[in-house]
């Protein structure tokens, strides 16, 4: 189990800055996810950790020993690429054995280890197939076995599931998580899929434009996003402009003025020193829908009109316009089909003050 420390990494491509002063630490055995939109620098950071790309400044250390001078073929890392990068001219067996051959392991032990790795990913019956005769999911299993069989200090996975269809993605996600836990291998995982990140990670770092915006366990990030980007990217939080009437001295209920309704009450986690414009964040599932006549005695109300209806079986998702140009996404779980709203229906929304977050002051 390896502790990985990434310290002050800077990377520029010509004029463009890809990473600006990124630091983070992976605890031994944890699955650490870099989550962000495409072009945020997450893959660049992974390639720097792999040694496939040189950084302009900063350092990467495994167990306290800097590896910046170690070429990638001596870092002893397993990499799983988005495009699989399976060796198309080698059989499954030869693919998995590739790294062991490079380490000059004798053939008997190689054979045993390849068999063991193939069993782990349930590919033992297809060892003599060529990659072209495998499905995408099977190729994914081969490259996973190929990366794990060398017993790497660190496993790097670059969007490993993005080329699979939705069902396989969920299945492979479970396989990866189970193997990673059993082997206790420190893993750096890159994805742009927030659901995947929430499902698989011990720790998530949300990245945007070459910076890390927030790190923490999935539940902490989901419950308490610190800024607007994290709120919107992770779980699609509704963000509303509001005004804090007066500073908040300690954790407790704060009152904010909103344009579309009477003032709302919000539970603040801690002190908010300045009054003035702020962003409020509300999860779609935290909003409740009532007929326009009902719910008058609830907290934090807003009257609006349904403009879009998406019925997904377990969930009904509405867009509700509460003021010109201001819409909220609302999710109703286990919707009663007789109570489904239609486009144009007037509704009244409300939500619990504890479910509204003050994100950050308006820029």
């Amino acid at each position: 189990m390896t502790r990985v420390r990434i310290d002050g990494i800077v990377k520029r491509f010509g004029e463009a800055s890809a990473l600006s002063d990124v630091s983070l630490e992976l605890s031994p055995g944890e699955l650490y996810t870099l989550l962000g939109p495409s072009g945020c620098g997450k893959t660049t950071l992974l390639r720097i950790v792999a040694g496939l790309l040189p950084q302009d400044a900063g350092s990467v250390a495994f167990d306290g020993v800097p590896v910046d001078n170690v070429p990638p073929y001596r870092r002893n890392i397993g990499v799983v690429f988005q495009s699989y990068a399976i060796f198309p001219h080698l059989t499954v067996r030869q693919n998995i054995a590739y790294g062991l051959r490079a380490r000059r392991m004798e053939s008997e032990r190689t054979e045993a280890k390849v068999g063991e790795a193939a069993r782990m990913v349930q590919m033992e019956s297809l060892l003599d197939r060529m990659p072209a005769a495998l499905s995408g999911g099977q190729q994914q299993r081969v490259v996973l076995a190929r990366a794990l069989v060398i017993e790497p200090r660190l496993l790097l996975m670059d969007e490993p599931l993005s080329n699979l269809d939705a069902r396989l993605r969920v299945e492979m996600r479970a396989v990866i998580r189970r193997l990673q836990r059993t082997l206790g291998i420190t893993t750096l995982y890159v994805t742009h899929d927030q659901e995947e990140a929430l499902a698989i990670s011990d720790t998530i770092a949300v990245m945007d434009r070459g910076r890390i915006l927030q790190t923490g366990p999935p539940w902490a990030l989901y419950r308490a996003p610190q800024n607007r980007f994290v709120a919107e990217f992770l779980g699609g939080m509704n963000v509303l402009a509001a005004r804090l009437a007066r500073p908040v001295a300690a954790a407790g209920v704060a009152v904010v003025e909103v344009d579309f309704s009477t003032p709302w009450s919000v539970v603040a986690d801690g002190a908010v020193s300045e009054s003035g414009p702020v962003w409020l964040g509300i999860r779609p599932e935290s909003l409740r829908v009532e007929p326009p006549s009902g719910g008058a005695d609830h907290w934090n109300q807003a009257a609006g009109t349904v403009t879009e209806v998406g019925y997904l079986g377990a969930v009904a998702r509405y867009q509700v316009e509460i003021a010109p140009g201001v819409s909220l996404t609302v999710e109703v779980h286990d919707p009663d089909f007789q109570a489904l709203r239609r486009v144009g229906d007037p509704v009244r929304l409300w939500c619990d003050p504890a479910k509204v977050r003050i994100l950050a002051p308006h820029p």
Binding site: G51, L52, L53, P71, I77, A85, H89, A102, V143, A147
Partner: protein, 559 residues
């Protein structure tokens, strides 16, 4: 802990590894064997004999003497006409085959590939065998009182060129048509286009880059062709033949004029090459083809007409090779051939010029081995380490493709006929010419292939503990194998029948088969010429069949 310098070869994209040696060798070879000889030719046209800016005695002479400017006009006119002819024959052929359910598509494509195998001057010679003064058809028509049309001169050369090169246009356009998705045509028709409009507005624009690139290839090849006008010209001069005459003629020759004519060839073909690259790459559309154009169901009459036209044309393309093969087994006396079956010509050949055949195989084999060896390494540098110097090197290598053999031959002689390095009179100068002129084939094939190979595959190998250079051998080279085979095959086919520089560079015992054929044709020994030409065609076809076996049937010899 921060700011430590990264390891110099920590990744495949890093500089400072050993690949610079390959690009240094590439630059050295191209500069020594192409750039320097060509600049001597260009310098000769600028400096003249006096040694300083003598445009008057060089280009001025071309402009003022009909002897010179008529050859320039002949070359330009012939190449332009041949290009138009090849396009007008090759394109409808490709269209007919893709749009009508004509049986035997594979057969037609194979025939087109076979037609491209025989060196152009052998094609020209075959027309002499058929329609020349003592030609088979000529003598067959004579008793009927019909004079066969003359094969000599402008029209004969044009016929030989069009028959030689329309299969190339056909193969390139077929390739482009195979990439047009049926849905594009369907979309055009669903938007209200009639079939004819759909073709002109949707299909034609998509295949136009390939068509234009093919046309420019034909233009360059016919411009550079030395053997065809030599065999069929009968006094009609083109730039390469006149350049050869001016350079080789010890009496009335004029080396300065040879340089000037060579410079004109360099300029014209370099311009054509730049046009070809432009159309082949910049203007190429990236189309996703899931379902190729489907054959339509024409009326029975139209289908029959199209089938007859297709098989007639492809038969015409095979006429030269068949003529050579058949005539090589006929008893002959001088240029006259008789009905019958005989191995007399082959016996004479093996007795007379076994050395030339051995030379051809030895020099071609060596040149192709060097081309492939250096080409694979250079392609990796050019494709995986893009940089300004590498772009220059790539352009210089491609230049070899455009420069006529006559010009390269003259340049090599001018540079390497005096100390410090004397190569004239040895086999080495032939090897150098073959090597440098055909280096573009493996380089082009391999760079194209590398662009298809995911760099991540190489990175995966490195991350698994195999250093970059060993990764190259264990992963990249095996994946490039199809390109290596097709590059080697193309280089082999084009080298083995090379005439235009061989005729200048050979000396004494180092005559090649192509040179021997040329001498036999001019001394009216048609039987031996046909036997030698058959051996050449067979030797060119052998690796093509090997390639079919190795890589499947979808391969072509069209560059």
């Amino acid at each position: 802990m921060s700011g430590t310098a990264p390891h110099p070869d920590a990744g495949p994209r890093r500089h400072g590894d050993a690949w610079w040696v390959v690009s240094a060798v590439g630059f050295a070879v191209v500069l020594a064997f192409l750039v320097w000889p060509l600049s001597r030719v260009l310098a000769g046209s600028v400096l003249g004999e006096s040694g300083w800016l003598a445009f008057g005695e060089t280009y001025g002479r071309v402009a003022s003497h009909r002897y010179y400017w008529s050859s320039l006009l002949n070359s330009l006119g012939l190449s332009a006409a041949a290009t138009i002819g090849a396009v007008l024959v090759g394109t409808p052929l490709a269209l007919a085959l893709s749009r009508y359910p004509i049986p035997g598509t594979v057969l037609v494509r194979t025939a087109a590939n076979l037609a491209l195998l025989s060196p152009p001057f052998i094609g020209a010679y075959s027309w002499v065998v058929l329609l020349g003064r003592n030609g088979l058809v000529t003598r067959w028509l004579e008793p009927l009182g019909w004079g066969a049309p003359t094969i000599y001169g402008y029209r004969g050369i044009l016929l030989a060129f069009v028959v030689q090169y329309f299969p190339l246009v056909f193969l390139l356009v077929s390739g482009a048509l195979a990439a047009v998705d049926q849905s594009m045509e369907d979309a055009a028709m669903s938007l209200g286009s009639r079939p004819r409009q759909a073709f002109f507005r949707v299909v034609l624009p998509v295949i136009l880059p390939s068509l234009t690139a093919g046309a420019l290839l034909v233009f360059m090849a016919t411009m550079a062709d030395f053997g065809t006008p030599m065999v069929l010209g009968e006094g009609l001069r083109t730039l390469p033949t006149l350049m050869y005459g001016e350079f080789i003629n010890e009496l009335g020759g004029n080396p300065t004029m040879a340089s000037t004519l060579g410079s004109l060839l360099i300029l014209i073909n370099t311009a054509a090459l730049m046009g070809q690259r432009y159309f082949a790459f910049r203007k190429a559309y990236h189309v996703v083809c899931l379902r190729p154009l489907q054959p339509r169901r024409p009326t029975r009459g139209r289908l029959a007409l199209a089938a007859v036209a297709v098989y007639g044309l492809i038969g015409l393309a095979l006429v030269p090779a068949v003529t050579i093969l058949v005539s090589s087994f006929m008893p002959t006396r001088g240029p006259v051939m008789y009905a019958g079956l005989s191995l007399q010509s082959y016996a004479t050949v093996l007795h007379l010029v076994p050395r030339a055949i051995a030379n051809t195989f030895m020099l071609t084999g060596l040149a192709v081995a060097l081309d492939v060896g250096l080409g694979v390494l250079l392609a990796y540098c050019l494709a995986r380490r893009p940089s300004r110097p590498h772009a220059v090197l790539d352009a210089l290598i491609m230049l070899a493709y455009a420069i006529p053999g006559t010009v390269v031959g003259v340049g090599l002689i001018v540079v390497y006929n005096h100390p410090p390095i004397v190569l004239t009179g040895t086999w080495a100068i032939l090897l150098v010419s073959y090597f440098i002129r055909h280096l573009p084939y493996p380089v082009r094939a391999c760079t194209a292939m590398l662009q298809q190979i995911d760099v991540r595959v190489e990175e995966a190998s490195i991350s698994l503990g195999v250093p970059p250079f060993r990764t190259f051998w264990r992963v990249t080279v095996p994946l490039m194998f199809p390109a290596i085979v097709s590059g080697a095959t193309l280089a082999w086919i084009t080298t083995i029948g090379e005439l235009s520089s061989s005729i200048l560079l050979y000396s004494g015992p180092w005559a090649t088969t192509s040179v021997a054929i040329f001498t036999q044709v001019f001394s009216n020994h048609f039987g031996t010429a046909s036997a030698l030409a058959s051996i050449l065609i067979g030797a060119a076809a052998a690796p093509l069949f090997l390639m079919y076996r190795l890589l499947g049937r979808q391969t072509t010899v069209a560059p």
